[in-house]
Symmetry: C2
């Protein structure tokens, strides 16, 4: 491959070194290293456009890269090519407090944005476990603990700037809160996993910091009781800001990794947002449901520091469980089901994992019907790995059988392409037709998301 | 055109009568009658598929039809063809209370759905002025008075069944509250105005009836004060269920048409939803803002009957203003701007309309930055009509200049195709490429939405 034009364009911000390539050939899950041929670090939309035009002329694959925290291998270079690392496009361009919007470059991480927003009384709610880049979060339609209240990236991205497969730069959406002028291109690119274009700028909705915030954890005698409490809470319309489930195995990992001292039982971790009186009222209503389901006393996180500690525990759930099983082949998977099917989905999954003998903590954003299993077979025992893969496959089948989806938030990447036909039927062919229309050469993140061949 | 195959398929549910054709060649605005060659009344998805397959074989246009209440001529048969009237597909198929979902056929109207939901404690919030069909509302990405709290059709459609241009039937989305599995086809079809496929089934999100509801109207000394009050309210985070602006000219029409006795001044019409204490708190906060902006005392609608009367006034705003000017050529238009630009947008628009001498009541869902002008030039005075068209054009230009969109909810139809390039730039070409991918023969609602030629 002739790198000279890109070297000329980017100088030292273009690298074909072995270490750079390998760093951009990994994700945080179990997939093998699949390195690109080189890595580009653009500083502007125009540079991204020039990179793509150059690759388009030569039919070279182009893969977007945020922070590399994918759990499904979204950004692995299945067919080599150039990885476009957005870490140098990491500026918050504009905060429009009066419109509750921020305009950011794709390399800004969610924590960096919230740091910049600290003085404004506003915050950006979407919080996947990792401190991911906002461009990556949009590309994968990420969500997190607060999606039950504030929505996922689908809801919180108002407008985008995107570079297409031929280098054209387009803008989707506007700063108006809504529009009915044509196809919803913003929604099309959100969740497209880098297969339709590279996102070079995002206009994001912000939320007002609530007057009152209150967070707590609460133990339950068994998984069923905890999940039933979630279902009742959502159905009763309490506007939960967060309602997270963690099973006993996870609690053990939290205690070991994060120094908490929670009883090794299933827990809910919850947060309420609103005026002081609204928070009080929500707390009381939720407390009644918890009592009805046999839940224990709340342990309150009173101060901001205590709350941060609580949610840090949760956000580090993945790393905590991995630390407990350092010799594991980490196979993490998530599914999402209608809320009425949540208890069935979690209990069937937990029972199968228990019967398998493989460690597999379950946790999740259960207010959305979304939960994860982190399957941890021994990496040197092929039978365990095969069993774990079978468990994950059965979770995906269970999600579809119960009217849900094979991924609530982790996405497709390399890991779930095999389920797309089962979930979408002829709709998957439609996705392929859209891809062919916008990227006829198949240079954008090839091998992913749409039907191949 | 050989109608025999469709006659055979549909029997008396296929009509080429002059009256049927003419009925399906109208919308509720000023556009000329553009009738289809015939009208089909399918009763099932399979029949819709058969109709489209037949039309596809012969290259005949196919146009979807709900209740014919478009204000921009979405369903006019610009190039003839077959109009598919969904009025016989009007069943509520399933209400899943525990998941807060309803599955409906496209011909169900929003009022019919809410009638069916009455005993469940749930409701469907999206409420354009007309009692439109839910299929039409999805196809045009409709919104209404409650979008400020509950979102538009973009938010409230969870899944669709769609018949494509070649007759294939696909399902988009699932019953899970969220998903990250591939392109968001649901969002692509919502707002596509019948140009990508015909919607044959919808899965809709429902909302719980709030414990407390409180509605009121309130007069303001001038437009600026009313709109400033809206901006302050939204920016302060009060979760308004409805916050509607009507100008003095509208109030006059309300009084004449609906028998109200409001002072002929600009008004806000508001509604609060929540627990009893939350409603009290919101009311108090909003009251402080109103007082600060010089607004008058609230007139409360205390009972459900009074509330219904109040919102019926508002929903009939369009018909009330038309009744006041029976000889008018009704040219209605809507724009949507960032909330920080709302006062500028409304005041500039009002001043220009006043200077023109043409009646042009302004009203709108101002909590979203969205407002309408109903321009009422005399239908026998070409100069007035030309002036009104120029006013509408300047509104669209104003929306774009202020970072907004040329339509918040009425859509493109025949009326706003000329603004698509200005609003979307190269993104409009992308829309054209998507259309070409899914409807290469251009049989679905031809002449609309995407670049022509």
């Amino acid at each position: 491959m002739d790198f000279d034009p890109l070297k000329e364009l980017l100088g030292p911000r273009f690298s074909a070194s072995a270490s750079d390539r390998e760093l951009h050939g990994r994700c945080e899950s179990h997939f093998p290293i699949l390195a690109p041929d080189a890595v580009a670090y653009p500083q502007s939309t125009e540079e991204v456009s020039a990179i793509i035009r150059n690759c388009s002329e030569r039919g070279v694959p182009v893969i977007g890269w945020g922070t590399g925290t994918s759990l499904e291998g979204h950004a692995l270079a299945l067919k080599g090519g150039i990885t476009v690392d957005f870490s140098r496009m990491n500026r918050v361009l504009h905060i429009a407090s009066e419109d509750m919007l921020a305009v950011v470059q794709p390399g800004v991480t969610r924590e960096a944005l919230n740091e910049e927003l600290r003085a404004t009384g506003l915050f950006f709610p979407v919080d996947p476990g990792a401190n991911a880049s906002l461009g990556g979060m949009a590309a994968t339609r990420a969500s997190g603990t607060t999606a039950v209240r504030y929505g996922t990236m689908r809801t919180n991205v108002l407008a985008l700037e995107v570079v297409l497969a031929d280098g054209r730069i387009i803008r989707t959406g506007s700063r108006a809160p809504k529009s009915s002028t044509g196809y919803d291109l913003t929604a099309l690119f959100v969740g497209s996993e880098g297969t339709l274009g590279l996102i070079t700028e995002l206009t994001l909705r912000l939320q007002g910091q609530p007057e009152g915030i209150s967070a707590a954890i609460c133990a339950f005698p068994d998984i069923g009781a905890a999940v039933e409490a979630v279902m009742l809470t959502i159905q009763s319309g309490i506007p939960m800001a967060r309602i997270e489930f963690v099973d006993a195995a996870n609690v053990r990992a939290f205690n070991a990794y994060g120094g908490s001292e929670m009883p090794e039982m299933p827990h809910l971790m919850v947060e309420f947002h609103g005026s002081h009186s609204a928070v009080q009222e929500q707390t009381r209503m939720f407390g009644e449901i918890v009592a009805e389901m046999g839940g224990g006393a709340f342990q309150w996180a009173e101060t901001p520091e205590e709350r941060n500690r609580l949610w840090k525990l949760r956000h580090n759930g993945y790393y905590a469980a991995r630390a407990l099983y350092p010799n594991a082949f980490p196979l993490t998977t998530d599914i999402c089901v209608p809320i009425s099917k949540l208890a069935a989905a979690v209990e069937e999954t937990a029972a199968e994992i228990a019967a398998s003998g493989i460690p597999g903590p379950i946790l999740g954003h259960v207010g959305d019907g979304n939960f994860h299993a982190l399957l941890l077979p021994d990496k040197d025992t092929p039978e365990e790995i095969a069993t774990a893969k079978a468990l994950a496959a059965r979770m995906a089948e269970r999600a579809l059988r119960l009217g849900g989806t094979v991924s609530g938030e982790h996405g497709i990447g390399m890991g779930k392409l095999g389920y797309m036909e089962a979930e979408h039927g002829a709709g998957w062919q439609v996705m392929g037709a859209l891809k062919a229309a916008l990227d006829p050469q198949k240079i954008l993140n090839p091998g992913k998301l749409v039907p191949q061949g």
